[in-house]
Every structure is written in structure tokens, then in C-alpha cells.
């Protein structure tokens, strides 16, 4: 034991904002791995279809959207077959909503562990967001199949997808971290989030193309990070939508600011969060 690094933890009231504890969170990466694994493995137990549900959910939604908005309402889809058009948006959108929902309620639903064992609480919302990514990759394989079916060859533009994927997760985490501690105090948050996400879906070009939005409003409209993600996905996959531009950079800036402030708020409230249960 060296004198320079005392082998003890000091426990005292923490004041102010403190650090993000990234190093400590990293030390608990095994726990992160196990929580993701529990989330995935535990979810589909004792179900006849098991993990098929991961693929089934967005697929069925896509079919319904195609019938209602594509066939009945005849919404334009920038010339792309409507099923492909909506599915390419549904994937990041589902990832976003699931991650946001889960991370916002992560503290409440994991109180059993949180009130009994210490670990950096940040692990919990991160693990739920990552579990969403696994679902995403499963569904993505279907998407590739659909592209080939409709005669779209995946090209080099696919390489930009991780950036948009990161933007979707970062946005979900940013909002989720802000809401997670609030959700401990007010159980209404979980309901509110679900409802607001439904509203948000119509503010995001999931069932219609962004090109339908009047030109004058387009700039403001594209400040919605998820609008960026969805349009970016379409650009990379089927060639419509919008290429990354300056607004994308600005949106990243906003999201990162939200993410860091959210993480700090989370760190601040995690110290005494169990007292509020």
C-alpha cells in the first residue's frame, strides 16, 4: 500500500456540483454489462415468441403506418416506397423512445438495487439505453432485407449512421437524465413522458417527409434532434431526407450541453436519492 494513494473512501456530505465520476463508472463496467444482459435476457423469458418481439414490434407498426398513412391518407414519401420510408424512421424513433422512457424511469424501477448497494448510479440509465441499441441492431437486419427487396443498395453513406445513432442515444440520455431524478419525486413523470413522446412523434418526420414542412419553418423544425436523426437516416439509407449540415452541428452542440448538465444534475441528486423513495 503506497502512501500516495490512500486505500480508503471518505464519506462526507458533498456540496456543489462535483465531478461526473466517469472513471468510477468505468470501473463498474462489468456491472453495466450484467445489467444490459439482465434487461435483454429477462425481458423475453416465458414468452412464446421470445426475442422475435424485438423485430415484430417495429415491423407491425410499419405495416399499420403504411396502410393508414401510405395507402389511406396517401402521404407523400419523397418517392420512396412507403414501408421502407416509414421503417427507416421507425427504427431510430423506437430506439429513442425506448431509451428515453427507460432512462427516465431507471432510478424508480431499479430502487430495489439502488437502496441496497452502492455503485455509480449512472450505470443504470446507461444500461437501459444500451439495451435499446441491441434491439435496434436486430431490427436493422430486417431493414437491410427490405432495402434489398425494394431494390435499394446500401452504399458508403451507411458509414454516417453511427453518428446519427449516437445523436439519438445522446438525446434520449440527455432528456432521460434530466427526468430520472425528477421521476423519483413525482411519479407523474413516467406518464407525462409517454404522452409527450406521442406528441413528439408528430413533430418528427416519421410518418411524413420533412419536405412537407413549409420552407420558412424548416430551419426551426430541423433543430429537433430527432428530425435530424430521422432525415439523416433516410439520407444515408434511401437517398432522400437531408445530408448532415451546419444545423446538425448546432444540434449536436445543444444536445451535448443538455447531456452534460443532465449528467451533473444526476450526479448531484444521486447522493441522497434513496431518501426520497
Amino acid at each position: 500500500m503506497s502512501e500516495a494513494q490512500p486505500n480508503y473512501v471518505e464519506i462526507k456530505p458533498r456540496k456543489g456540483w462535483g465531478d461526473l465520476g466517469i472513471k468510477e463508472t468505468w470501473e463498474f463496467r462489468e456491472l453495466l454489462y450484467f445489467l444490459i444482459w439482465r434487461e435483454i435476457k429477462g425481458r423475453y423469458r416465458q414468452m412464446a415468441l421470445g426475442p422475435t418481439w424485438i423485430i415484430l414490434k417495429p415491423f407491425v407498426t410499419m405495416v399499420v403506418l403504411s396502410l393508414v398513412f401510405g395507402k389511406l391518407a396517401k402521404l407523400p414519401s419523397d418517392g420512396v416506397p412507403y414501408p421502407l420510408f416509414s421503417y427507416s424512421a421507425l427504427l431510430p424513433w423506437t430506439l429513442f423512445t425506448v431509451s428515453l422512457n427507460k432512462s427516465a424511469t431507471s432510478l424508480v424501477s431499479n430502487m430495489g438495487i439502488i437502496s441496497k448497494v452502492y455503485f455509480p448510479r449512472m450505470v443504470v440509465p446507461i444500461s437501459t439505453a444500451c439495451a435499446g441499441l441491441v434491439d435496434f441492431f436486430m431490427s436493422f437486419l430486417i431493414l437491410i432485407g427490405m432495402m434489398l427487396y425494394f431494390g435499394y443498395m446500401p452504399g458508403l453513406k451507411l458509414l454516417i449512421l453511427p453518428m446519427y445513432l449516437a445523436l439519438a442515444v445522446a438525446t434520449a440520455m440527455a432528456v432521460g437524465l434530466w427526468l430520472a431524478t425528477l421521476a423519483v419525486r413525482f411519479r407523474d413523470v413516467a406518464y407525462a413522458v409517454e404522452h409527450l413522446l406521442q406528441v413528439a412523434m408528430y413533430l418528427t418526420p416519421v410518418v411524413y417527409p420533412a419536405s412537407m414542412v413549409p420552407e420558412a419553418w424548416r430551419g426551426l423544425y430541423m433543430l429537433n434532434p430527432m428530425a435530424q436523426v430521422v432525415e439523416g437516416f433516410r439520407w444515408a439509407l434511401v437517398g432522400t431526407g437531408q445530408a448532415p449540415n451546419l444545423i446538425t452541428v448546432a444540434v449536436w452542440g445543444i444536445v451535448l450541453a443538455l447531456l452534460f448538465s443532465g449528467a451533473h444534475l444526476f450526479r448531484r441528486t444521486e447522493r441522497t436519492v434513496v431518501d426520497l423513495m
Binding site: Y8, E10, I113, S115, F119
Partner: protein, 419 residues
């Protein structure tokens, strides 16, 4: 380099209690209250907590524990023991003071933390181990040992939701017992599991301390404390009330418990209630209905409980029970209306329950009485150490020979020579 494992200095934890909310009077007021609720919350957070609103669960606690020491922590419910462990294990921050813990800390506040019912025993061992801070490699090398210790080898690939509660607890404890922390904080987990397994756990914990590990053990089981811990800290009302050799501290504590139990005023006792029924009085009565301070061994006695319903309404489907315990809080017997098929279908909002013992067969001595009731299979009320039951030597066998000392209880019996 000092040889302390834990140093605690002036530790305190303050909780803010919810301000009493007045019950709404009529529908209009109820709506008004609901509308005001969010604002009330904001105002409450913006203002400083008033004196009545705060509760110091722990205050000015200073203790140091040497490496390799096994220390028991005792105290009544709500005295601050669990809060103390929660602060030491960093689950919640203290309000003031500081503590240092040297080395890797293992926390056992509950067994089976994070168990997922749908996952197999095998999966849960890894999951639970990871939650408690073990590395995957460590769990893998100890896996067989853990399974053998838990005695669940046959069911290791079955989802734990199909486990009996005993198996569940055994598996959970086995993981915990194989943690190798330098400091182990344990809260009352020995209260679960069957007797043989409890003994095995105690043995395992003993070997833990032999290997130079430091253990803090919170328990209500004085036998466990006396058997395992050379030193005991007694926490009362958030402060250290006693600290020293276990035998002395436990003695002080039991003496105080008996004195407290002897106090007739039930208002000051430790309640664990969900606010549906309240015990307002307890006394002993002889067969003529006269209140008596103590009973004679062999005499009949009525244990009389006064209660009231908190809502003021009648209570339906009430089951009531009385625990008789020895001074170390070891349960001796339970007098339970369900066992005698005498649960109460309906009780008036206020009244008196009587439990009659036709012949007291406890050996002469002092006993403690816990009262409890459950209403309609749901909410319950417990009053710990509600009273002291003093049994004096009496003529149990009707032979004119008062019993003085005969172990813990008496049995009717007869002797003869077989011809």
C-alpha cells in the same frame, strides 16, 4: 499507517419529514388540496425545514473499528442502525460529519439484491455478484463453491421464481458469503432461512473474521450478537448509547428494554404500523377481572388490549397476535387468534380484546410482550415491547409447592412406578 478499518467522526443524518397534511373536508376542499399540491411542494423545497419537520436519524456518532474486528450493532427499531450502515456503504450521503472506510466494502443490507425472477439460478449468481462488486472472473472461480454452499445444485438452471423461499435465500446468501471484502456490512440477514442454514452462515461469517476481515453486524438477535461479536455498539435515538464488550452492552440494552416495556404508556413505544389500528392500552387481569401488576406461575390470566381504529370506522376481518419473548428478544410463544380459529369478523371502532391463558406455564421471570394485528389481510400494526410480563413463583402443580426455578416453562405431568 493506522490499523483502523472504519473511522467515524461526528456523523449525522437529517431527514425532512412530510408536514402533516390536513384531511380534506368534503369534495370541494379535496379538489382544492389537489390543485395546491404542486405548489406546496415547491414552497416546501424553497423554504428551510422548520424544527418540527426535521428528524435527525443519526447525530454525533463517532466510532472507530480496528481491522479484523467483528462488531455488533444493536438498538430498537428506528434507532438509526440501518441509516448508519447505509451511510457507511455510501448508499446515501450523511448530512454532517465524516467517515473513512479502509479497503473494499461489501454490503449485505438485503439478500438477493437485484435477483431477476425470470432468470436461472446460474444467471442470478453472476448478476448478483456483479451488483455486489465482484468481477466476473472471481465469480466464475467460486461458482461451484457458491452452488454447493447454497445446496441448490439440482436447480441451478431453473428460473429462481420457481424456487422455494428457502432456496432463494440460501442462494442469495451464498453469493454474499463468498464476497471477499475487507469490510463487510451486514443488516439482519440472518433472520431468514432455516436454522441449520443460519448456523452455517454464522460459521461462514466466523471464518470471514478469522481471515482478518472487519464485520459490522446489525441484528435484533442477541444470541447471534453474543455468539459472533466480541464488541457491540448500541445505537439509540440516533446516538451511541453504549459501546464495549458485547456481554456488558447487551446487558445494558436488555435492562433498558425491560424498563421501557414496564412503562405503562404505550405512546412512547416503538410502533411499526400502517395506520389502520392503534393499540392504546395493555394490562393484565386476574380471573375476577381485577387489574394485576404481575401473575403467579400456574394462575389464569387475561391479557387485555385496548385498541382504536384510526379511521374511526369499524374494522373487518381482524387477526390479532401476542408474542411472548425473553429479555434477549428470543420468541417463546405466539398467542394468535388465527390458530385458535377466533379471528374477529368485525370490530367496533374502539374496544378491548382479551386473550385468556387458563394457566400460565412460563417459568418465573421477566418477559416481554409484543402486540400485533392485521386488518383484512392487509395493513398491520405492531407494537414492540408493549409491556413487561412479570411471572412470580406460584403453585403451578397445585401441590402447595411454589415453583422457583425450572428452566423456561412448565408442563403438567405425573410420575408413577409401573408394576
Amino acid at each position: 499507517m493506522n490499523d483502523n478499518a472504519i473511522e467515524v467522526n461526528g456523523l449525522g443524518k437529517r431527514y425532512r419529514l412530510g408536514a402533516a397534511v390536513t384531511k380534506p373536508n368534503g369534495r370541494l376542499q379535496a379538489v382544492g388540496e389537489a390543485l395546491k399540491a404542486p405548489f406546496r411542494y415547491l414552497i416546501r423545497n424553497a423554504t428551510k425545514a422548520s424544527e418540527e419537520e426535521t428528524l435527525w436519524a443519526l447525530r454525533n456518532v463517532s466510532v472507530s473499528v480496528k481491522r479484523g474486528e467483528v462488531v455488533g450493532i444493536i438498538g430498537r427499531n428506528g434507532a438509526g442502525k440501518t441509516t448508519f450502515l447505509k451511510i457507511l456503504s455510501r448508499i446515501t450521503d450523511p448530512t454532517e460529519g465524516m467517515a473513512r472506510v479502509y479497503g473494499r466494502v461489501g454490503t449485505l443490507l438485503a439478500v438477493g439484491t437485484g435477483f431477476h425472477p425470470e432468470l436461472s439460478g446460474r444467471d442470478n449468481v453472476f448478476l448478483n455478484g456483479a451488483i455486489m462488486g465482484m468481477k466476473r472472473e472471481e465469480i466464475r472461480t467460486r461458482f461451484d463453491e457458491i452452488v454447493a454452499f447454497a445446496e441448490v445444485a439440482k436447480f441451478i438452471d431453473t428460473p429462481v421464481k420457481y424456487y422455494s423461499s428457502g432456496m432463494y435465500v440460501r442462494l442469495a446468501f451464498a453469493v454474499a458469503a463468498h464476497l471477499e471484502p475487507e469490510v463487510l456490512l451486514v443488516d439482519e440477514v440472518l433472520a431468514v432461512g432455516d436454522l441449520a442454514f443460519q448456523r452455517k452462515c454464522l460459521g461462514k461469517m466466523n471464518s470471514v473474521s478469522d481471515e482478518g476481515r472487519t464485520v459490522l453486524l446489525v441484528s435484533h438477535n442477541m444470541e447471534a450478537i453474543l455468539g459472533l461479536c466480541p464488541r457491540t455498539v448500541w445505537i439509540d435515538q440516533g446516538g451511541v448509547a453504549g459501546d464495549g464488550p458485547s456481554r456488558e452492552v447487551v446487558q445494558q440494552y436488555t435492562k433498558e428494554s425491560m424498563e421501557r416495556a414496564a412503562q405503562p404508556n404505550l405512546k412512547d413505544k416503538t410502533r411499526q404500523g400502517e395506520g389502520v389500528i392503534e393499540f392504546t392500552g395493555f394490562h393484565l387481569r386476574d380471573s375476577q377481572g381485577r387489574p394485576i401488576p404481575h401473575v403467579l406461575c400456574g394462575d389464569p390470566v387475561d391479557l387485555v388490549i385496548d385498541y382504536r381504529s384510526i379511521s374511526g370506522q369499524d374494522l373487518v376481518n381482524v387477526t390479532a397476535w401476542i408474542w411472548l419473548l425473553d429479555p434477549l428478544r428470543k420468541p417463546l410463544t405466539c398467542l394468535w387468534s388465527m390458530l385458535t380459529n377466533q379471528d374477529f369478523q368485525r370490530l367496533p371502532s374502539e374496544g378491548r380484546l382479551v386473550c385468556r391463558l387458563p394457566q400460565v406455564n412460563l417459568a418465573p421471570g421477566s418477559y416481554m410482550v409484543d402486540l400485533a394485528a392485521r386488518v383484512n389481510m392487509g395493513k398491520s400494526e405492531k407494537l414492540m415491547e408493549a409491556a413487561k410480563l412479570e411471572v412470580l413463583p406460584g403453585d403451578f402443580f397445585g401441590t402447595g409447592r411454589p415453583i422457583t426455578q425450572t428452566g423456561q416453562f412448565l408442563c403438567n405431568h405425573s410420575w408413577s412406578l409401573e408394576d
